[in-house]
């Protein structure tokens, strides 16, 4: 009753009628029965586009990257655009799992598991592109410093080497963080197992976790520390990705605004992707009681915020290009907006700056169809952002004699499609095999027998 008179009363994070056992049942149910038709349909759809991508990659590797539209002056295009796009997608997962955890945002617990899974699959997808771009992916290990008979080391002053370290660390730590978070939930699935194979398989994966109080004390501390390590890590990764550009001297790339601008954009696009996945997953797996409209609304608010940060970056970048008095810099930006790739620039502007503005309206923030379409458009816009940054800066640099145009070939488009297939295939397998919601974390914030949530376990 007191809560009703309190104007700042919190929205319930979970349908208050649910008990601990309901939560366990609802989250584990999709893992314990045969997949639905929808799942099979989605899975074969994903496999099909993965196949198209595999074909494109196979031909590229067999015949060389001359199959792509790359040439001087545009030596980076779809491959690096896709790389930055997918790495960015991953960042929302870490933001949700680590940064919101440190800020004690309790609503994050319902969505962090699937968001972290998305991070891992997105980083795996991203990692493919630089490796394929090397042209001879079997030599990709040359990127790491290892003792070799040539006695050469990598050049540690190169941002591309920093990137190798940043992305591989990011993948490793995200995977560890995700797995540590999964251990207690895998133990739950193990204890519900009806047959021996499941019991043994989940038993091994759960490492024999039994939830003793002494273990929980250390567990919670280690989890907090991993969150604390992941937080600067996620900021460093996209900053270092932006150094790939910012450390060069190319107009349009050589700007100090890049690291924060890239990080905001990464979180922006990542949230859009999490939202797209969750709107579908909560429906398909009947998790509406746990991933409520309130969660989705909060995500939309973050998209509105980061969308405006990105919009601010676009505008200030333009302003500084004019204000600097540097004719090359000024040209690079005017060329972006009015040159041959103008439509890419304005797609980016519309999707990233205008579209999120609809989230000022509460009823649209809470409308599934509206948010789904808006997130799709934001993903399109963020892909174009990277394309615009990379291609429009390269195609016309200092001397008009160096200018050129870039057009993707069908192999590059096939690889872009294939990357979605790769990502979705992994995500769909994850939804079948592991709990998509962090059951134990959600139980810890649940209301129990009329007590206010968080009161007991704040």
């Amino acid at each position: 009753m007191q809560a009703a008179s309190n104007t700042l009363a919190k929205n319930p994070l979970i349908n208050p009628e649910r008990t601990y056992a309901d939560l366990t049942n609802d989250v584990c149910a999709p893992l314990e029965k045969f997949p639905t038709k929808t799942w099979y349909l989605a899975f074969f759809g994903a496999l099909t586009i993965l196949g198209i991508g595999a074909l494109a990659v196979g031909i590229t590797i067999a015949r060389g990257i001359g199959m792509w539209g790359l040439n001087i002056p545009v030596g980076w295009a779809f491959d690096i655009t896709n790389f930055v796009f997918w790495i960015g997608i991953g960042h929302a997962g870490t933001l949700i799992s680590a940064i919101l955890y440190l800020f004690r945002q309790k609503w994050r617990t319902a969505i962090n598991r699937s968001a972290e899974a998305m991070t891992i699959f997105a980083v795996m997808t991203a990692g493919l592109f630089p490796v394929i771009h090397t042209g001879r992916p079997w030599y990709a290990f040359w990127l790491f410093p290892y003792p070799n008979h040539r006695e050469l080391w990598v050049n540690f002053r190169s941002p591309l080497v920093w990137d190798v370290f940043a992305v591989s660390t990011y993948f490793t730590i995200s995977l560890v963080f995700w797995y540590v978070g999964l251990i207690p939930d895998i133990a739950t699935v193990r204890d519900r197992a009806k047959n021996k194979i499941r019991r043994v398989a989940y038993g091994i994966l759960s490492l024999g976790w039994r939830g003793s109080a002494r273990n929980w004390t250390h567990y919670e501390m280690a989890y907090l520390l991993l969150a604390a390590l992941s937080t600067p890590l996620v900021l460093s990764v996209h900053s270092i990705v932006s150094f790939d550009f910012a450390v060069s001297i190319l107009p349009g790339w050589h700007t100090t605004i890049f690291p924060p601008y890239f990080v905001a954009g990464a979180i922006f696009s990542g949230f859009a992707m999490v939202l797209n996945l969750l709107v579908i997953a909560r429906k398909v797996f009947k998790l509406e009681d746990y991933i409520t409209i309130y969660h989705l609304e909060n995500m939309n608010k973050i998209m509105l915020l980061t969308g405006m940060m990105v919009g601010y970056a676009y505008i200030i970048e333009f302003f500084i290009a004019w204000y600097s008095g540097n004719i090359y810099e000024r040209f690079a930006f005017i060329n972006r907006a009015t040159g041959p790739y103008w439509w890419c620039y304005w797609t980016m502007m519309t999707c990233n700056v205008l579209v999120p503005q609809i989230f000022w309206i509460r009823s649209w923030r809470r409308n599934l169809v509206v948010m789904f379409i808006a997130s799709l458009l934001i993903n399109v816009g963020m892909w174009f952002e990277r394309f615009v940054i990379i291609v429009t800066s390269l195609h016309r640099d200092f001397i008009p004699a160096n200018w050129g145009m870039y057009k993707p070939t069908m192999y590059e488009i096939g690889m872009l499609m294939g990357s979605f297939g790769f990502f979705l295939t992994f995500f769909l397998i994850f939804c079948r095999l592991l709990p998509t919601i962090a059951v134990f974390e959600l139980k810890a914030i649940m209301k129990f027998k009329g007590k206010e949530e968080g009161e007991l376990y704040a």
């Binding site: 133990a187 024999g208 273990n215 929980w216 004390t217 501390m221």
Partner: protein
């Protein structure tokens, strides 16, 4: 040391578990362990557990990781095969910051997890699961028979008063 034999009470409410734990502790019993589906806050206090020492290990790993990565870069770039890149100094330390940072995160993250596994004694697939609902919605408290203050009747009384749903003997 711990044989995990004794009496186990299963509650359906974390508050009743806390209450029972506090009362068992008042009997001066030390050999007890709670098994819960999620970390019940207040449990460390009720059982008299100390704060985890893992952060100190993480700090040490983080510093060593950063130092290792930094000096590896110095050694490869300035000592093992000095190469002049764009006229920069051999030890161009600002350029070594990103990789040193990643070294810190990688090494401390991995070793923290390893330490967690060691202190939790996992992986361990041989120890029994006392009750399948402990990872679902039951909160178990195990009191070991080997404790010098173990008193079966007194414990049964506490468990009953704290509304235990089930009390079982672990042989």
């Amino acid at each position: 040391m711990h044989k995990e034999k004794g009496v186990m009470a299963l509650f359906d409410d974390p508050e009743r578990l806390l209450e029972a734990t506090e009362r068992v502790r008042k009997m001066n019993i030390e050999y007890m362990e709670a098994y819960t589906p999620f970390p019940v806050h207040g449990m460390e206090h009720a059982m008299g557990l100390k704060r985890s020492w893992i952060p100190w290990a993480t700090l040490a790993f983080g510093l060593s990781g950063a130092a290792l990565a930094f000096f590896f870069q110095v050694w490869t770039s300035a000592i093992n095969w000095p190469i002049n890149v764009g006229g920069k100094p051999y030890i161009s330390w600002p350029a070594f910051v990103p990789v040193s940072f990643e070294g810190m995160v990688l090494i401390s993250g991995l070793l923290t997890t390893l330490v967690l596994f060691i202190v939790c004694r996992i992986p361990n697939l041989t120890k029994p699961v006392f009750h399948p609902r402990i990872t679902d919605d039951r909160f178990g408290l195990l009191v070991e028979r080997m404790d010098p203050h173990y008193n079966e009747t007194e414990l049964q009384k506490i468990f009953k008063e704290c509304d235990a749903k089930e009390v079982k003997t672990i042989m």
